[in-house]
Amino acid sequence: MTAVLRLAALSAWSRRLTLGLSLIAIALAVTLLLAVERIRGDARQNFAQSVSGVDLVVGARGGSVQLMLYAVFHAGAASNNISWDSYRAIATHPAVDWALPLSLGDSHRGFAVLGTVPEYFQRFRHGDGEALRFREGRAFGGVFEVVLGSEVVQRLGYRLGDSITLSHGMSELGPAHGDKPFRVVGILAATGTPVDRTLHVGLEAISALHLDWVGGAPLPGVNIPSELVTKFDLKPKEITAALVGLKQRGDVFRMQRFVNQYRGEPLLGVMPGVALDELWQTIGIVERSLLAVSALVVLVGLAGLAATLLAGLNERRRELAILRALGAGPGEIFLMLTAEGLLVTILGALLGLLLLGAGSGLAAPWLLERFGVVLATRLPGNEELALIGAVILTGLVASLVPGWRAWRRSLADGLTPRL
């Protein structure tokens, strides 16, 4: 039997060009499959780690998914703001350890601007409870100071001390707050979360920007210059949302009930874990479809292999007849063909794994920069090994077809194939 397998390997080597093409197709398909699986897993993890240690996210009443989207991911817009009084009522509730006000709605060249308090930089947690770190500079202190996320800096090339202006609304073409420039005083280290794509200013800055605005548009003829804004009361009247940490996590349902039944205005409190899961369910269809498509690509690759082996069978009738004459049984002929297909599948899967390793090393910075996806270079996990196992198993099944054909044919041809 080992003799037959050795001959199978030598025979395959003599047809290395056609088999090589099948092998490359399988390798690429496996790379795609594993990459999708890995990105899927990593994206999900990034997603789940975008906020950590927050017990409740509070906003105006609406959908919990929508609240998560604007409060945590700074995507989309809030339907309503919540009043400063409501925020104070929550923040001073005896069960609450800390609360961070979030004021959203302005942007800078497509990046969201977040108005908050300096405490945000100490309190905010992401990943496995990691705090924000300043790569350079410090938190904002003065009204017209801004702290940038790492991606903002990477994409727009700002440095400490640069002066930037903000736009009203999320559109780059929206009316500008060009009359009130900000100075960059801090740059945050990369986190792989929406923080990287955010500009952070004080709540007072948000108030100051909108002193001479009414109903979303600048008041005609009124222009309050930056130097004078401190003369005005910059205490915020409204914020968009708040992140709340409790003294005891066990109080979370009680606190949620307090928020949802707040009499002052209709509020909504959601637990981030629950809402993120709900949000992921929606996105989950996309990732599962992607996985299904890559599984199909693998199937196409394996079908191609089976087709190549079947097509080659005709040219190899002599070869098989010679082996029969030398004493090979039909079983060994079957084994030879099946082993060849299996060998190509296994080599293809290994090459695919190798390509993924090399590719993720090369593509990881690009993926992080372009899509904010953190792709870790690591040994294949259990799910990936299971996928590879499934690919090899399917390859074996696909190889049984040419094996079976060769077996049938070697029985019919005997020692003298009629060509």
């Binding site: 025979s11 010679i322 082996l323 030398l326 004493g327 049984g329 029985l411 005997g414 020692l415």
Partner: protein, 231 residues
Amino acid sequence: MAALRITDLVFRWPRQARPCLDITHLELAAGARVFLHGPSGSGKSSLLGLLGGVALPQRGAIELLGTDITRLGGRARDRFRAEHIGFLFQQFNLLPWLSALDNVVLPCTFSARRRERAGSSPRNEAERMLRHLDLGEELWRKPAGELSVGQQQRVAAARALIGRPEILIADEPTSALDAERQQAFIDLLLQETAVVGATLVFVSHDQRLAGHFDRVVALDEINRAAQEVTA
């Protein structure tokens, strides 16, 4: 002991109504050199398949070296073929992607018996045979597919005879050669078969070659199935 004894043989291919072989009796003595004359349609390939044990007759016995191979199982027939029979075909006898030398050694990888009978080293034996068959040493390690047809047939003869099988079945081995080389090749084959002491069954439709052999058997005469077709 006869090298081959066929008794009351009837063979029909699956899904065919009529038998293509119907032989009452054929016996070949050990060491004989037999010219089996088989025009096309006389059941030649069927007989080869039966002798090789890759097909089974519906009736009758095929005794090779005293063993009725129709009573053996499939694996045992495959092993019997590997151990006792050397095959030589028209052309394309060799695995083109193996070297000439590796092609000659092949039977020794399939059969322990032939490996033992090839002496201490099958490779040395293969080299000895190739040298004896006048194949230049520079060709030994070339892929067999790159040799000329005549060279390939000599390599194939060496392969069929390595490990001294008792029976050598040659199926039109000279049909791809020109007349001059045919002569030389048959001489070589007869000589080598004699050295090995094998029974040679030389199958051909070309009656002009019959003169070299001890005995001539006309397949269409002993095969009653073929007679019915022509009648």
